[in-house]
Structures are given as C-alpha cells and as structure tokens.
Symmetry: C2
Subunit: 413 residues, 2 copies
Amino acid sequence: MKAAVMGYGTIGSGVVEILMENRDQVAKAAGEEIEVKYILDLRDFPDSPVADRIVHDFKQIEEDEEIRLVVETMGGLNPAYPFVKACLMAGKHVATSNKALVAAYGTELLAIAREKNVNFFFEASVGGGIPIIRPLYRCLRGERIEEITGILNGTTNYILTKMEREGAAFEAVLREAQNLGYAERNPEADVEGHDTCRKIAILTAMATGRQVDFEEIYTEGITSITDTDFQYAKKMGTSIKLFGTSRMFEDGRVSAYVAPVMVGGGHPLYPVSDVFNGILVKGNMVGDTMFYGSGAGKLPTASAVVADLIEAVQNRDRNIPIGWTKEKQEIMPMEQNTFRYFLRLAGSHRNKEGDVRKAFGPVEVEELYGMDEFAVLTGPMKEGAFKAACAAYEAMEAQKGEYGIKQTIRALL
Amino acid sequence: MKAAVMGYGTIGSGVVEILMENRDQVAKAAGEEIEVKYILDLRDFPDSPVADRIVHDFKQIEEDEEIRLVVETMGGLNPAYPFVKACLMAGKHVATSNKALVAAYGTELLAIAREKNVNFFFEASVGGGIPIIRPLYRCLRGERIEEITGILNGTTNYILTKMEREGAAFEAVLREAQNLGYAERNPEADVEGHDTCRKIAILTAMATGRQVDFEEIYTEGITSITDTDFQYAKKMGTSIKLFGTSRMFEDGRVSAYVAPVMVGGGHPLYPVSDVFNGILVKGNMVGDTMFYGSGAGKLPTASAVVADLIEAVQNRDRNIPIGWTKEKQEIMPMEQNTFRYFLRLAGSHRNKEGDVRKAFGPVEVEELYGMDEFAVLTGPMKEGAFKAACAAYEAMEAQKGEYGIKQTIRALL
C-alpha cells in the first residue's frame, strides 16, 4: 500500500526509517508492504536516499488515488489541519503524532473519518512510543475508567529529576537541558504545562467518549518549583512531579488538571524519572494499570505512528470506532478538587503556629536547619477553601508587617 | 450476542459480574449487548442470581448455534482442552484465562481458529488485567522485539517482597501467604516457577511468531532464596525478583529462562513489588516499554477476558491474525546465557581470596558482620563457564576439607 509522509523532520524521518529498517516485520503484520511514495516538505534533501520522493505540493498527495495512507508529522495547526482534513475527505487514512492537532480538531477529524469510512489514528500524540491510546480502546473497553494520571512530558520530568538529584535550580537545569537538546529554545510549551494539557485532554476525551476542550483544563507548569522545595521533599521522602490528571466520577462529573504535585514513594508514578513517561489508568474492575516508556524521541514516537499505519492497512475498508463524539464533556472547576497542600511559610513555626492553625487547621510541620522559613502539610482541603485560607493567612501576616506564603504545591500523600 | 462461560470459579464469576456491572460500557464498546446464556459448572448455585443459567452438560453449549462466544475459565487441561477445541470447531469464538491450556495447546487451537474464521483470544492468560498480549500484536507489530522480561507471578513476588521488607524466611512468608489466600495450598506451580514458565513461553511465542515448547525453558523457582540473601541484597542496594525472560537475537537465536535474579535500583522492574506484575518489552525502535498492574485477582483477570469478548464481537466474522504458527522456535541452552553471579561462600574472604580468584576471576566482595561466610559478585560469565568454575571451587575446598558454595543467584547488575 502506498503512503505519503507529510513533514520530514525528526518524527517523519523516523517513520521512513522504521518502514525501511523493519520492512519485513511491518509487511508481515500489515499483510502487505507499506511503500512511501511521497514525502512532503518545504525543503529538499538532495543527498538523502529518499531525495526522489520529496514533493513540495500537497495537491500531489491529495489527488493521487494510489495514496491510501498519510502520515502527518509536521506539527502545529497550519497547514497540518487543512491538509489532514483534505486527506480524510479524499478517503485516505491518516496517522498523526501531532497532539496540538488532535486536541484542537480531533472531534471534527474523527467525525470525517467515520463518515468517509477511513481511520484517523493518533497513538503517537500521547506518550510517544508507549502504547496508550490503543490499550484504552482495545484492552480497557469493558472498564469504567475512573482515573488517568500521567507524567506526559519528558522535558519537564528530566528537569525535575535533575533538580531532585543534584539540588540544582530550575533555570540552571533548563539551560543544561536546552544545551543537550532535551528542551526547546522556546521551552514554554513544555515547562508551562501546555503540552501535558493537550495530552491529558486527549486521554480524557478517549476515556469519556466526549469532546474535551483543553482550554478548560487548569494548567500550571513547573517554573515556580525551586531547589528548596526539593530539599523539603527529600526530607519528607517525597518527590515533585508534573502530573496531568483526569478523574471520572461515577455521577458523571469529570475533573482534570495539569500541575506539579508532591507524591510519596508508594505512588505508582514515583519511580518514573528522567525523560521517561508513565501513565496510570485506574479502571473500576482492573484497578491500577501503568504504562511506562520513552515518551518522546524520534524512533519511539515514529514506532507508534507505524503501529497506526499497520492497523490502517489491516482495516483499509472500515472505520475502527475510536475516539469521541461532538457531545461536550464539562470539566469541574479546579476549586472543587481536593488535595493536601505543601506550603513554605516565612518566619519560624514557633511564632506562626497560631496563625497557621487558624488559617489551615491542623498541619504537619517540616523544618530545614538554618532557614528563616518552615513548611507545613495541610490535611485534605477543597482547592477553593485552600485559596480562601491562603488569603486569610496572608492578611494576618500583612497586618503584622510580616511575610507570609513563599510556596504552595498540591500534594497527593 | 449470546455467550457461555465454562467454569464458574473465581475468574468465571468475575466475567459474569463485569458483564452485568459494566453492561453499558461493554455494549457500547462491542456494538451490542453480550448476554450470558449458559454457565457450565459441575456445581449448582441455587442461591445465585444466575442459578437458572447453570448447565452441567457441555453438549448444550457446543450444540447451541446461538452461542457465538465462549469463555473458558476452568483452568487445567482436561476437560478445558477438548471443550475449547470443540467450541472452535463449531465456529464459536473462545476467550480463555488458562495459561496452561495456551502454553500446551495454543498452536493447535490458534490454527483451528484461523481455519474456522473465528478467534481464540487469551489476553488474561498472562499478566492478569495488564494489557500485554494485545499491545504485542496491535501496538508493537512494527517492532523487532529484542527482549521481554516479566515479573509474571504475583504470589512469588509477594513472598519475595515480604522477605525483603521483613527479613523473614521463605517458609514463614509462604505460610502467611497461604493463610491470606495469596498462595495455594499446593504452591508448587507458583514457587517452583512453572506458572511463570508457561507465561514467558506464551510471550516468547507471541514475539517470535513461532511455537515455543515451555518444557525447553530452563525454570528455577524461589524456594532456595533465603533471608540471608536479602541481607546481602539490602547492603548492595539490590533486590531479588523472579524473572521470566526471553531475548530474541538479531541472528534468530532465542534465549528464554525463568529464575530468581538479583537486580539493581536502576532496573525498570525493580519497583514492582507485592502481588503486582510488571512486563518490560524492548523493541528495536521503541526501546524500553513497561506494562504494570494487577497480575492476578478475580476482577482484573476477568476484565481482560471481557476485553477479548468485546474484540470477538467486533470481529465476529473474521479471524484476527494473532499468535504463532506450527514452526518451532528453538531455545538456546541455558549454558549459553551470560550473567554476573552472586555467590555466598563459606569461611572468610581473607582465607579464600586465592581460591575465589582462581575459580571465578576478579570479583566484588561483600561481607556481613559476624557471619562465617562472605559473598562475591563475579564479572559477566557464560552459565556453562560458571558451572565449571563452581565445580572447580568446590573441588579445591573439598580437598582442604572445607565447605564451599552456600548459594548462587544470577545477577543483572
């Protein structure tokens, strides 16, 4: 079967590489060979073995009826969105690694695929090479999914792991990660949590079967996490990870957020470190299941795209019912979620004990030697109530002319 | 679609429970409701809500053309094997949780299913509720699988975890596990590694696409592991886990074994403890991927059976190409595998240093306070060479009238 690859960057060239390197396995699995006929890119690659397949005009792909499979690895929304839409309209299967595209236009593209009896697959858009989209619709379909929690961004996990192990500051580790190529020159999408947000939106839509607007998901990145936070975490036997989480309650309410959280050694995602990703899925029957692996990288991500291609070839004439409908899934306001909270407070616990109890109720206290601050861990509180408690505490301290809260981190302990 | 459940024990009743409890999710996923028409068991269940569906005669299921789906959760080979074979011959899809059946007769049953254009599914036979069979044939099909290593038996993992945490002896923990219902009264299948052996045989056959004879897989259980071993392991920052492993070399050779191994904190399976299972899959493109969850238990295992039923309904009129052929996969002799080895040796290192070096070459030494023994960790050696070295060492000590080797454990460090 003839395929076109749109975007010959890291992932796209990885797809071409796997189709050549693992040609026999792929042909055996798919039932026939997958041959790359066109590679769409703005650039030429005159010295590449695929130089003769490079094209610059999308029309050539759209109008070639021999092309039944299209890989979209351009990233971004434009022209990825119009191109993918046109391919589906023309009755071609599409496999994409583009989480921005799936999060923003997945609902529409899935509907077109259904109508045209082709497939729109996106295994590579979440968790890189880790099988997660397909297990959700193939393996856990008899389950009522209760929770999905993931470490979904390798860059931020790498940064937090380095901060934890080396006691280094965020900025220093980010610079190092940029020099190593683990973080982009413009790191905002990673460190501000936007990438994780799109991924948890996709997983939540998969789990609920309904459209999820990623803009409704509370999203907080890791830029405010400091080496001091990790000093406390170490003393407490905990770690700090960037989680994307969604919880599906039995009454139909759904909560979802992206935020750094403090977790203990017993949490299944606690050992997930460096650039690895881990995704925990709780089903009402199966309990906790976890998927772990390389969440990014050329070949792991490309491998997931190739798995999509194989499934498309196996189902060339039918739409596999995956994804979600146009029905919209409301997301609960962040204020209604319950956490414990880790706070770092200025001054000494001895002097502030009364104010802390007044604002936050009974807390556990942690102190580091020789610092003009202390930390507390609250009991479980609704986020809304916690916000109000923080405001009350700040007001008490301001009245005394003293500093108040230096840091707050949600805790699942 | 009408189903029959053969065997109303733990897993079988779990399947019925999920089909009732998650009726809507199942119907939505499968495209229609799955109704349990018969439950085959020797016993009656007069007070059960399904009392009216209990039948005692297999013929009733075999001859009822309305039954398109059959669940086999009887366990064992007889009558599971003739019953499943007859169901497939009669054109019914079969989903089983029975690893003994799949390991012993999978090749023949898969061939019959292909011929009859139905499906023989066995997701629940390995890893309980953890999706692993389906990811291997759905998600990692474009990969050349290089290694599968699993902690595949919850009972032995529970026992080893308890020994590690509590410093308890094997027999004491086994008795406790039996009292808690985590271990069988006759624990041999678990603690001698037979259960793990069948599971790694199935996974190896999935990865190679060829028949694997489980009797050819070297299998060693955990009965010789002692609390003293864990004292050393703790000092060395390692743990001891029962692994089922297979490695697929690029030249086509395949190694497979079941044995307790000493692993370090960096191994992806190191954190898998208690009754949990973890399965590490290395692909030539995707790198390390790990699947983690409840490897046993009523509802997790039943959940995997239900996923099989859903896929069978979705593919009622076609055989999904999974599994392996009749072509036989040779397994390399255990002697050709390379490990490092942890040994506990009688006497003091000071006195034995020369003999140790003569037999095993340069080693790392570990000593525990106040014990008339010491431990060494060899460099990487072929198992055959290691066996010869052990014999040489024993001969040297015997000549001196002294004790020699107290324990040997393979190490992946």
